[in-house]
């Protein structure tokens, strides 16, 4: 199939999912009440923001996961691998438990972002030989250290703050500031996508290993760090606005790769759109299942993503 045609199909799916995201929710609102007294119904406004947030977070995670898997040449690689989740959790918990959250709504996300970026830079700086295996191990180590420090903080904390930290980490696209979080994240996503489209050839070559890439004109050590830092930054920004959402960055790139082949120039935009669709649908599902309760979207992604992926895995094994 032509790349343009594939992208059009994914785009159509994304638009359909976005429409569902605005139309359906906990409350049932007839179309006639979407506009009230000349202004947008606040419930609809809420849905628009959270649907857009789900789209941006899902797309960022899928792109990030795609890059991680390609560069580390590991199908289990996921966006949070290089210290991002542990660092973000530690940053957020630090902000909540040390009382910085009183500074305003943005303090927790900013501390989470700071923690994630710091942990990521620490991994990239601490691992001298940046081979896939050593980066993976370094990421796991720094991540474990951050989680242990988080446990220390939690141990010394008030029980209610602790619940706040745990809930924050579960992930939700409900509390997103459209101007201060969503817009910058969308800009970053677009910039990263354009950069990666231009560098897709390098990513393809890196999947054959750094030496092969070097022998075909890629500055492999530099590109490895640049790509992993960019992918981690995408993940860190999503964590800071929506907490840790598993599965999206792991499963979506796999599915798209299996369906359309390996060339990253061809699958980058489909993967981004598929990630957006996946998370928008997971969010809608989480809203519709219970009218009052808010299901953490990360739970929905795991519940949906796991069986879909296993089915796909077995199907293509049988086919080959």
């Amino acid at each position: 199939m032509k790349t343009a045609r594939i992208i059009l199909i994914y785009l159509a799916a994304a638009l359909a999912a976005a429409a569902c995201g605005v139309l359906f929710g906990a409350a049932r609102i007839p179309l006639s009440e979407f506009i009230q007294d000349g202004a947008l119904n606040p419930i609809v406004e809420l849905r628009i923001v959270r649907t857009a947030a789900a789209a941006v977070v899902g797309a960022s995670l899928a792109v990030s996961g795609l890059i991680f898997q390609a560069v580390l040449r590991n199908s289990l690689a996921e966006p949070y691998l290089l210290g991002v989740s542990g660092g973000a959790g530690l940053g957020a918990a630090g902000a909540i438990l040390l009382g910085f959250s009183a500074w305003g709504f943005m303090s927790v996300p900013l501390f989470a972002l700071l923690g994630a970026v710091t942990a990521n830079l620490l991994v990239l700086a601490a691992v001298r030989r940046r081979t896939a295996e050593e980066l993976l191990l370094g990421g796991v180590m720094i991540g474990t250290l951050a989680s242990s420090l988080l446990m220390v903080l939690i141990t010394f904390s008030h029980s209610r703050d602790m619940a706040g930290v745990v809930w924050w980490m579960l992930g939700s696209v409900q509390n997103v500031d459209p101007a201060r979080q969503l817009a910058p994240a969308a800009v970053l996503l677009c910039a990263a996508t354009v950069f990666l489209l231009f560098r897709a050839g390098d990513v393809d070559l890196l999947t054959f290993g750094p030496e092969y890439a070097w022998n075909h004109g890629v500055n492999a050590p530099l590109m490895t760090v640049v790509l992993l830092a960019l992918a981690s930054l995408l993940a860190a920004v999503t964590v800071s606005m929506a907490g840790i959402i598993g599965f999206c960055g792991l499963v979506v790139p796999h599915i798209v790769r299996r369906l359309h082949g390996g060339s990253h120039r061809k699958i980058l935009i489909p993967a981004a759109l598929a990630g957006a669709v996946f998370l928008m649908l997971a969010d809608i599902l989480g809203r519709v299942v219970s009218p009052v309760r808010e299901l953490p979207v990360g739970m929905v992604t795991a519940a949906v993503g796991c069986p879909v992926f296993l089915w796909l895995l077995n199907r293509s094994r049988a086919g080959s």
Partner: protein, 255 residues
Amino acid sequence: MKLTAEQLVYTHPGSREPLMNGVSLEIAPGRIAALLGRNGSGKSTLVRLLSGYLNPDSGTVMLDGRPVSEWSPAERVRRLAVVQQHVAVPLTDYTVRETVAMGLTGVSRLSGSLSPEQSERLNHTLELLDLTDLSGRLCGTLSGGERQRVFTAAALVRSPGLLLLDEPTSAADPAVTRKIVSLLRRLAPEVGILVVTHDLQLALDCAGYVMLLHDGRIAAAGNPSDVLTPETLLPVYGCPFRRFDCGGRPVILPE
């Protein structure tokens, strides 16, 4: 166009003994050079030092009169192509045609489309290595020898001036080996070629110049018929050899 290495010294990180201890060599168009040595003698490491992927502790590698590390990657690979012995299996498969096309430099970055000229080069290279019929196949479904040809094609597709091949025939059957030898001979007048191998016969058949890597140095170098004698090979491999004459073609075998 030539590649010269002078007094290369290199020690693996974490190792005490230097693997390379003053290796010098030159690769230039007009002849095929072969580098021989025992397993673990550092042949593949030497290729990595020559390609600039590894930096020597001391000594220099000059590509066209300039240190290889100072070239921009794109400019470097236009001059120097390397075919590795082992290539990692990518996470997802590419077709033969896609894989060989990745070897082209100057591919339009955004669309990935090839110019007519590039398409023609691609088809020509696939033809050269007998890959035309396989061009739509996924690399993961190919045999080891076929994959090796694909990576050789990916190196040759941009018409480099210098070519380093690490064990190019280790997985090839005799017919394919013969084909590759004749291909290298045809390229030799314009392309400087270094074949790294432990296959003595391959060196005898195709090389005009042979180097024996032993104990981190070039232990012997020169004409194949002068270097590949039982006397020089005994100390390197530690086993006796015997040389035969097979209708004018020299053959060397371990006893």
